[in-house]
């Protein structure tokens, strides 16, 4: 059970005070969205979607397509992470802008970008390419930030003496990266990659099924397959689709992530042997295989040896003192000046476009944000109501954990957005069906974060304290009040922060649905964004997207961070 505390701990520097960097970062986001919306003006009015085959034999190909998109986005995220994180960690001046920017980007509801990205890309690229690229960009935006934070945080926390050892023994840049930085960050990067993939599925499925009005942006893949199956009410195909999706997710977990985790155990920094190292049957099998052994000895080792030798000779360690600071040349000031001017101009144009939004629509936006906020609140409350008792039961009772844990993990591995069309199919008859379906989607997307965090929190309650409450003869309620709830508090908060972010995201797909030729919608900011995408009301699209971004960032700052601080300072069991 040791996996959970690491898995879901946010890497954000939550104690960071607001700085001018934050303002700049927000401004940058505004301008970015504006540029997207501006490009979208030229988007085609009608976008033809693909035909989705419901034959089960088509599933392997769809699975390959979906995984391919994930892989492409992940590669992009990794590349971005390594470059951006390093830059932020080693350049003080850049850090003061890069980190707030990352922080804002991370707390922004990513799905709200989807319409803007789709429209702007389809304006400049062929439709099919645009949709593919948009899905990759979307997944990238869901994967990159936490990876980057993990890498940045690792670089910042490498013990000084290890760094100095690298310097005094004259490691060059490559060797420092390979022997010090990458191994030090490995575990954190792998955990965050797992998290990124789990999140990525959610967004991929949303991107694959996105369609508004005349614009059908669907992509052939597992998500579209499930949606088509639900559209046609084909229960057999739904079951096939869900099975394929679960199979892919479980296979990736067993054949990629578990082995990687088991392998990465060697990179842990603690100088004591852990009691329960992560295990993986696949990793063990590979380690014992002759083929892998031969590959390591005859292929991998000589190649890496050659590469190291070449790079060490080619780029010797610089003799200059690490503290030597160069002054910024004039050129960089000029570039900065141009960038600042462009930013201000962009902000000005964005403001002009926003002014074109009539007051009535602003009222709609306000109403939408309120409605969605309410929905998020309901989803969170329901999630808390069931995850706290169940989480504590799993976390404190080994017997229950033994059979419940695997079930929970499989259930959690299915991206909620994939099941959404199915949900709509089931609820479409009932009155307020979409309303219930929307809250359910938010719930499905968010409850697992909470549950896993609560399990972790419950299993971290020291045995001594539990004995003490028993010895003191505390009643059930007293025990919850004095021990269990305070001990869980930090975990609940950490889980709730992630969960509420997920719920806001879900609103884009949940509040406005094209189902079997009908359009279903409810009041909400997500519905407004989707609708303005469909009708091509670009000022409204910009206003609604920005409003959602600001609402979420504001709630993060004003509510969650305060709770988080309180949790960190008062209720940590350390």
């Amino acid at each position: 059970m040791a996996r959970f505390p690491r898995l879901l701990k946010t890497e954000q520097p939550l104690h960071r005070p607001l700085t001018w960097g934050d303002a700049l970062a927000l401004l940058l986001v505004v301008v970015l969205i504006y540029v997207g919306v501006r490009l979208a003006f030229g988007a085609p009015v009608v976008v033809e979607g693909p035909t989705i085959s419901l034959r089960p034999t088509a599933l392997p190909w769809y699975a390959v397509l979906s995984v391919g998109r994930m892989l492409a986005a992940y590669a992009l995220s990794m590349l971005f992470c390594l470059v951006y994180g390093r830059w932020a960690a080693y350049d003080r001046r850049a850090e003061s802008v890069l980190i707030p920017l990352l922080d804002v980007l991370q707390s922004v509801p990513i799905l709200s970008f989807l319409p803007v990205v789709l429209l702007s890309l389809s304006a400049i690229l062929p439709e099919k390419v645009a949709a593919e690229l948009a899905s990759i960009v979307l997944i990238f935006t869901s994967q990159a930030w936490n990876l980057t934070f993990a890498w940045y945080q690792s670089l910042k926390t490498i013990p000084q003496e290890l760094r100095e050892a690298g310097t005094i023994f004259r490691f060059n840049g490559w060797l420092r990266f390979k022997a010090l930085e990458l191994p030090f960050a490995a575990i954190s990067l792998i955990w965050n990659s797992m998290m990124s993939w789990a999140g990525g599925w959610f967004f991929l499925m949303a991107a694959e099924i996105f369609t508004v009005g005349q614009r059908d942006f669907r992509l052939p893949g597992l998500g579209a397959y499930l949606q088509e199956a639900a559209n046609q009410g084909d229960v057999g195909a739904i079951l096939w689709g869900v099975a394929a999706l679960v199979l892919v997710v479980v296979a990736l977990d067993q054949l990629v992530w578990r082995p990687l985790l088991a392998w990465s155990d060697r990179f842990k920094l603690e100088m004591v042997e852990g009691e329960e190292p992560p295990a993986s049957w696949f990793h063990d099998a590979v380690r014992q295989s002759r083929l892998a052994d031969w590959f390591a000895r005859a292929v991998w080792h000589p190649i890496s040896e050659r590469l190291d030798g070449y790079l060490v000779r080619r780029f010797p360690a610089r003799g200059a003192s690490p503290q030597g600071q160069r002054r910024a040349p004039w050129g960089s000031f000029v570039v900065l000046g141009i960038a600042a001017a462009a930013l201000l101009y962009g902000a000005y144009r964005a403001a002009l476009l926003l002014l074109a939004v009539p007051p009535v629509q602003w009222l709609h936006i306000l109403e939408g944000v309120g409605a969605t906020l309410l929905r998020v609140g309901v989803a969170l409350t329901v999630a808390l109501a069931w995850t706290i008792p169940v989480g504590v039961a799993i976390g404190t009772n080994r017997r229950i954990a033994a059979w419940l844990q695997p079930i929970v993990q499989i259930a959690a591995s299915v991206p909620a957005t994939a099941l959404f069309p199915v949900l709509v199919l089931a609820l479409i008859g009932a009155s307020g069906g979409l309303e219930v379906a929307a809250v359910l989607l938010m719930l499905m997307g968010t409850q697992w974060y909470l549950l896993f965090n609560i399990i972790a929190g419950a299993s971290a309650i020291p045995q001594d304290l539990r004995y003490t409450t028993t010895l003191l003869g505390l009643g059930r309620w007293e025990r919850w009040r004095t021990l269990i709830l305070p001990a869980l508090f930090p975990y609940i908060i950490t889980g709730a922060i992630t969960a509420s972010g997920g719920a806001w995201n879900a609103s884009i797909v949940a509040e406005h649905v094209e189902f079997a030729g009908r359009t279903l919608k409810t009041i909400g900011i997500g519905a407004l964004i989707a609708e303005s995408t469909g009708t091509g009301n670009y000022p409204l699209l910009l206003a609604a997207t920005l409003s959602m971004v600001f609402a979420v960032v504001l709630i993060n700052r004003l509510v969650w961070r305060r709770f988080y601080r309180l949790a960190e300072e008062r209720y940590r069991m350390e």
């Binding site: 003496e161 490995a186 360690a317």
Partner: protein, 439 residues
């Protein structure tokens, strides 16, 4: 350029941190020279800048002022002829013992077969044969440091720098390792020309070094240099050895100054603000009780480290606190209880608090804080106090000062501190007394 026969020479080295009114001196005007064949110990209490000096010498850090000459030439960047043995070993946990040594050779472009042979040979020499494929976490502290030594030797440094190399080890491992290192050094079987060891352990310095450079803090500076004219191997119990140890204690513990010098001045006033030694009242009481039972209420400081099983650094800090509070005086490496200290040691819990209260009211730092609290008439954010302290101390030191102030203040029941909102305030009784006084 003339080399003067020195391997290494420091000329007027200083290191400052921060800028403007918040500038702190970590190291001030240090002059030091190392000859070939010398083993020099840099000895001083924690915070005296000795580790900073070591990093400057190795070229990891550029000094704010002064020149480092290596073989007569000014040092540019990392010193290619130096290696460091670190206090925390600084081994890469993900590399095997062999790879930890080999990676130092790899970085210098030594190709594969030669690299492994040399690393294995070095590990043999430090007695780690058989452990080549082990990971550092599987080894004991002593063995880890042996890997640290082997790695340092691998690059055949002329100058071996050691940063408290034995202080993270248990007593027995440290002792064994000291002996083995001295044997390698005195037998001349390693190409190292000079060793510089940073330590706060007085006995260790006297046991190993040819020359001891004694440093003091606030600001970090060299206060004395003395040669250790004893042949190797040295015996700890011989009168000659003890004489040198006592001499060093005499230098480091100093002599109790007249009260106004001991107390220093308040923050913001001219003169140096005396930093509170970081000891808890419990530790202080423990030392006083021990002294009260000693014959003549006095003890030899060096003996005390053995009797109380504390290291010399901590003991010097405790001694400083005793002097500051007037509980004991120090003279020529001996510590003596004052009548006040004796009373304290024998008093009840409440009476102890009474005495302690009276004493800390005299300290300028506390007087200043009480005045500040009375003037504001309310609870003060600890951040505010810390910021004010940062005018006198570097940020981390200000933080520690605040911790000590709160610890002492709480014990004496003069100050209260609310952890939930991080505010400091006068205990109600004292606040009332304060207002009366004002009225």
């Amino acid at each position: 350029m003339a080399t003067n026969g020195y391997l290494l020479e420091l000329q007027h080295i200083s290191q400052y941190y921060g800028s403007g009114s918040r500038q702190f001196i970590a190291v001030e005007d240090v002059n030091l020279a190392l000859r070939e064949g010398e083993f020099v110990a840099l000895l001083g209490p924690s915070g005296c800048g000795k580790s900073t000096l070591l990093r400057i010498i190795a070229g990891l850090q550029r000094p704010s002022g002064g020149v480092v000459l290596y073989r007569g030439a000014p040092l540019q960047g990392v010193n290619p002829h130096a290696a460091i043995v670190f206090q925390t070993f600084a081994l890469f946990p993900w590399l095997t013992v062999l790879d930890n040594v080999a990676v130092a050779l790899k970085a210098r472009g030594v190709p594969e077969p030669i690299r492994t042979t040399r690393a294995v040979d070095l590990l043999d020499r430090v007695g780690l044969d058989g452990f080549e494929t082990a990971y550092p976490r599987e080894l004991s502290g002593g063995m880890r440091q042996k890997v640290g030594f082997a790695r340092a030797m691998a690059v055949e440094p002329e100058l071996l720098c050691m940063d408290e190399p034995f202080s993270a080890l248990d007593v027995l491992s440290a002792e064994a390792l000291r002996g083995e290192l001295l044997e390698l050094w005195t037998s001349g079987s390693i190409p190292t020309r000079a060793i510089l060891m940073v330590t706060h352990n007085i006995e260790e310095a006297v046991f190993m070094a040819d020359r001891i450079v004694v440093m003091e803090k606030d600001p970090g500076r060299v206060v004395a240099e003395l040669a250790v004219p004893l042949p190797q191997p040295r015996q700890r119990k011989t009168p000659d050895f003890l004489k040198v140890v006592d001499e060093v204690y005499g230098i480091l513990a100093g002599q109790t100054q007249p009260e106004h010098v001991e107390l220093g001045s308040a923050p913001g006033e001219p003169g140096r603000t005396r930093a509170l030694p970081h000891v808890t009242v419990n530790q202080l009481a423990g030392l006083l009780e021990h002294l009260a039972e000693a014959p003549g209420n006095r003890a030899d400081l060096y003996r005390l480290t053995e009797d109380l099983k504390v290291d010399s650094d901590r003991l010097l800090m405790l001694t400083e606190a005793c002097e500051l509070l007037g509980f004991a005086t120090v003279d020529k490496g001996d510590i003596m209880l004052t009548p006040l200290g004796e009373t304290f040691a024998e008093a009840s819990i409440l009476a102890r608090k009474e005495i302690f209260r009276a004493r800390i009211r005299r300290l300028p730092l506390f007087r200043w804080l009480f005045a500040l609290l009375r003037a504001s008439g309310q609870k003060l954010q600890s951040e505010v106090v810390k910021t004010a302290l940062e005018l006198e101390f570097p940020p981390e030191e200000a933080e520690r000062q605040l911790d000590t102030i709160i610890n002492w203040g709480r014990y004496s029941e003069l100050l209260a501190y609310d952890d939930s909102d991080e505010r400091i305030y006068l205990e109600p009784a004292d606040a009332a007394a304060a207002t009366e006084k004002v009225a």
